[in-house]
């Protein structure tokens, strides 16, 4: 079973806004959207995009990743929903 990391979306912000995951492993990210509005988890760095409806969860698999910093954001609330994933 792969490691699982949860990113909570609340008030159009990611919590935590920085998450550290092991490099070189497939990692499961759970996007837990606790806002009533839909959000699109998007990352050009990770090449991922996923719609997460309000008050629901979405799963995004990433990796295996080379060590580094990967930016992600919520496409529908880009001004506040920002975060980084650190692989090391």
């Amino acid at each position: 079973m792969a490691a699982e990391y949860t990113l909570v979306i609340k008030n159009h912000r990611f919590e935590p806004s920085e998450v550290t995951v092991p490099a070189g492993k497939r990692v499961k990210l759970v996007i837990d959207n606790r806002d009533s509005s839909v959000e699109e988890f998007e990352s050009h760095d990770l090449r991922r995009e996923k719609i997460v409806p309000g008050n629901s969860r979405g799963v995004v698999w990433v990796g295996p990743l080379p060590a580094g910093k990967y930016h992600f954001y919520g496409e529908f609330h880009e001004d506040t929903a920002q975060g980084n994933l650190i692989a090391k």
Partner: protein, 278 residues
Amino acid sequence: MLGSAVIVFREVLEAALIISIVMGATRGVAARGRWVLGGIAAGVGGAILVAAFAGAISDAVQGRGQELLNACVLLAAVLMLAWHNIWVSSHGRQLAGEMRKVGHDVSMGVKPLSALALALVTFFAVLREGSETALFLYSLSASGAGGTSLLFGGVLGLVGGVVLGVIVYRGLLAIPLRHFFSVTGWLVLLLAAGLAANAAGFLNQAGLLPALAPQMWNTSAILSQGSWAGTLLHILVGYNDRPMGIQVLFYGVTLVVIYAAMRLVGRQHEQSRTAASA
């Protein structure tokens, strides 16, 4: 308000551009307007359904439902675009020739299946982009405070997307007839290759395809995919500033296979015409 207008505009843009290319590429096909409108209407209906069941779709197939649905819709559109281009390579020259002779557009009857193919491309484009727009607009209208102004912004973005599509279509019509079908043929070919690369991205996200190489190149410093120019090129020719190996492979294979099929069918058609006139 402006924020929501921009978000919706970006979502609608892809569908609007695809529809304008389809309208251009099917110039001269009888009753194409009706087929395309039917595709749009069915797409909007389907998009609302997909948006309504977004949660269930997302949870399906161990949380990979959304990726699989996106990939299937994209690949189906690629097949339909390929079919259209191969059909045009056998009839397009004849059609353009007749239009030139009479000096205005002529209509050519098509088999219902070919017309259905282009209606389906429209349907798939609206379905995919529309479901995200519908979800977004719905959550705006449900959020209450300030929702009306945001909703108005959303509608503004929608209208903006449609207007841009119409402008692109008018622009395509300005291309001289001599070159018209070869230009639209290339547009459709590159569009199909780009959609195939997107599908590969979703299949990788679903864990069904390996990346092959995590990053083939990085041109994000020169032209970021997030910029407007990058977004436009991404939609039109499948530009990707940091593609995975599997995406480049899908792009190349789609391009080569459709092009080869077009040449093959075009040559056979040419031969049968020469044989008939001899």
